[in-house]
């Protein structure tokens, strides 16, 4: 199957007070239509930066894309006119479920106003505006009556689909009147309303309690599978990735380590980092196994494989070069000179 999204050799740098941080080091990623891909890694590994690069919302000035490409449905997102991407891709073909449902709504507008504003610009019923049509600033544009009615009906339908109680009244409320779980339901509804091909969910359940997290995960998985939407799901919680993903990609310090179908990934991890990560999960009554050392600074990262200073199997080779991708099974690929289980 042709890829929906394919990221190749993406390199991103951040300019900070201390120096230039190489946040993404030649990252590649593919997502097939209808596939739920988990992007797993510890904080600072670059998963959020990757998600934002795909969306094209890296902070201007501080972040620099040094190389690589992002192909989405045959268009090159990095090189296309940013205004066209904003009009046609962002919020339409690719939508987001943000990390923090508490702060991602604008606190001063009712939920209805924000949902309808999204629909005003991103409704599937709205024709993509040709650039020449734009004479007035968008903020002055009218919302056509007939489309408003149709969109509002679609919104109510979507709110019912995410099991939000009293959808009609909910639209008139302010964000702070909802609980975290309800807000995340709203966010899911908003992410699916424009009928996207890809949803980028950036740690969407991190801020929630376990019982609520379980509800949200169940809801999300059910909805995306029903609609055949692809999802890029970033998380630092391996349990969450296990629950929802078809395939898992592990990142460490800006480099890709391993990618495998979920079952294979948790059963037979091939990368030493993945293995140590899984071992450091709490086990009932058992001994605690951590990974010695700390995550390296991205301003002066280790040479070669960035995990080598903490790796039990590291050799001179690992210090010198970054391992190329190698396949250890059908869809199971690993960036390591000494993959486990192969020797």
């Amino acid at each position: 199957m042709a890829d929906l999204l394919s990221v190749r050799g993406l390199e991103v740098e951040f300019v900070t007070d201390q120096g230039v941080a190489r946040v993404l080091d030649r990252i590649s990623l593919r997502i097939a239509p209808g596939e739920v891909v988990g992007l797993v890694g510890e904080s600072g590994c670059g998963k959020t930066t990757l998600a934002r690069s795909i969306l094209g919302i890296l902070p201007m000035g501080a972040a620099r894309v040094r190389g690589g490409e992002i192909q989405f449905k045959g268009r090159d997102l990095l090189r296309e006119d940013p205004r066209v991407v904003n009009e046609e891709v962002r919020g339409r073909a690719i939508t987001v479920i943000p990390q923090d449902p508490f702060t991602s709504f604008n606190p001063l507008f009712t939920v209805g106003a924000q949902v309808m504003d999204l629909m005003k610009w991103k409704s599937p019923h709205r024709a993509v505006a040709a650039r020449t049509q734009r004479r007035w600033p968008a903020v002055l544009h009218r919302y056509p009556r007939t489309r408003y009615r149709a969109d509002r009906a679609a919104v109510l339908e979507a709110l019912r689909a995410v099991h939000l109680p009293e959808p009609e009244r909910a639209l008139g409320r302010l964000p702070h009147e909802f609980s975290g779980g309800q807000r995340q339901r709203l966010m899911i509804a908003m992410a699916l309303l424009p009928r996207p091909d890809l949803v980028i969910a950036d740690e969407p359940t991190t801020a929630l309690d376990v019982t609520i997290q379980a509800q949200i995960l169940r809801l999300l998985r059910q909805l995306v599978k029903e609609r055949g939407v692809s999802v890029l799901f970033t998380t630092h919680d391996l349990g969450t990735a296990y629950e929802i993903c078809d395939r898992v990609v592990v990142m460490y310090a800006g480099q890709e380590m391993e990618a495998a179908p979920t079952g294979v990934f948790f059963d037979r991890p091939a990368h030493p980092y993945t293995r140590r990560l899984l071992e450091s999960l709490p086990s009932p009554g058992g001994e605690i196994r951590d990974i010695p050392g700390e995550v390296p600074s991205l301003i002066a990262p280790p040479s070669g494989c960035r995990f080598h200073p903490r790796c039990d199997y590291a050799t001179t080779e690992c210090r010198a070069d970054r391992p190329a991708e190698r396949a250890v099974g059908g869809q199971h690929r690993v960036h390591c000179f000494h993959p486990l289980g192969s020797a």
Partner: protein, 327 residues
């Protein structure tokens, strides 16, 4: 308490009896219109040397409980007995003296360091407050503690921001341990941490516990961590303890429906998928408007009429304490 004290020889270190902490709810005019019953009648014993887990979701009152024991909040009702002494009603200097033996570890111990002070001064401070040791002896003590948490002595001359997050955390712990407290309350010590860091932190807690003969009250929302660290676990829901039992028993045979749902919600790698099985609907009601009777009945899958009429008390079932009519 019917819990088996015989297993531990000495009397409990900490005893809570019907402890409550309510916060006033005020309307727009500043008039009190009700009470937020954050902690509402909790009885609990902590035995020397054990690690007691206190789990629950956000808003269940577990942090308020910890802070009330610590004296950051004053109790609305009930008793706190620590080392045999009533400390709930102590004020001022008398209350502050208790801190020598009872310490509190914040979610991020690194954030508990004054950014304008050097590590040495920060580590001397607790000894200055609670002891009359001369400077040289304090310095020896500080050096010992620093080694115990695994930091080089050279760090004493640095400011907190010059250390990594993990090192700051260790300094934060060292600061508390210089006093050799008997009981340490750990408030969400692993929340927001990556698993590998979490593992290091837990490892450190364990080694410090054996080195300094510490007793932990381990407050957390993470059941997997609690299961690994604690001998006994108390589950809180809306200000009350709904189940209290030995860890193995609680995780193998959870008796309260809430405990059961909580366990079912945790993803189990390699096991069943929560997304396919988890059944608990709805969200906890606001602690401002507590349901009548059993607080869990609004979400409980097996609730009956009696649950709305009568609030269940903790009772013992096969060595586990459960607050449920139907357990």
């Amino acid at each position: 308490m019917t819990e088996t004290p015989a297993r531990y020889g000495p009397p409990p270190l900490l005893e809570l009896r019907e402890l409550a902490r309510h916060f006033p709810i005020r309307n727009a005019f500043g008039r009190r219109i009700g009470w937020l019953r954050a902690v509402d009648g909790v009885s609990l014993d902590v035995w020397p040397g054990e690690t007691l887990g206190l789990v629950g979701e956000s808003g269940c009152g577990k942090s308020t409980l910890g802070k009330t024991v610590m004296g950051i909040f004053t109790p609305t009702a009930g008793e706190i007995r620590f080392l045999g002494e009533q400390i709930g009603r102590l004020r001022g200097a008398a209350r502050r003296r208790v801190a020598k033996h009872l310490q509190y570890v914040y979610q991020d111990p690194g954030a508990s360091l004054d950014p304008r002070w050097k590590i040495r001064r920060l580590l001397h401070e607790p000894l200055i407050i609670h002891t009359t040791l001369p400077r040289a002896e304090r310095e020896t003590e500080v050096q010992t503690i620093l080694r115990a948490v695994g930091l080089p002595g050279a760090h004493l001359d640095l400011y907190p921001h010059e250390l990594s997050g993990g090192q700051q955390r260790r300094v934060g712990l060292a600061r508390i341990l210089t006093l050799h407290p008997r009981l340490v309350i750990l408030d969400e010590p692993t929340s927001g941490l990556d698993v590998s860091v979490q593992a290091s932190v837990l490892k450190l807690f364990r080694s410090l516990q054996s080195t300094f003969a510490l007793t932990y009250l381990f407050i957390s929302h993470d059941l997997a961590v609690v299961r690994m660290m604690c001998q006994r676990v108390a589950v809180m829901y809306l200000g009350r303890i709904v189940e209290l039992a030995d860890t193995t028993a609680l995780f193998q045979t959870p008796r309260h429906p809430y405990t059961q749902s909580l366990l079912a919600a945790v993803p189990q790698i390699g096991g069943r998928r929560v997304t396919q099985e988890f059944a608990l609907e709805g969200e906890p009601p606001s602690p401002r408007q507590m349901p009548s009777g059993c607080r869990f009945r609004t979400r409980c899958p097996i609730a009956v009429a009696r649950c709305a009429a009568e609030e269940p008390a903790l009772r013992e079932i096969a060595g586990q304490q459960v607050a449920c009519h139907l357990a």
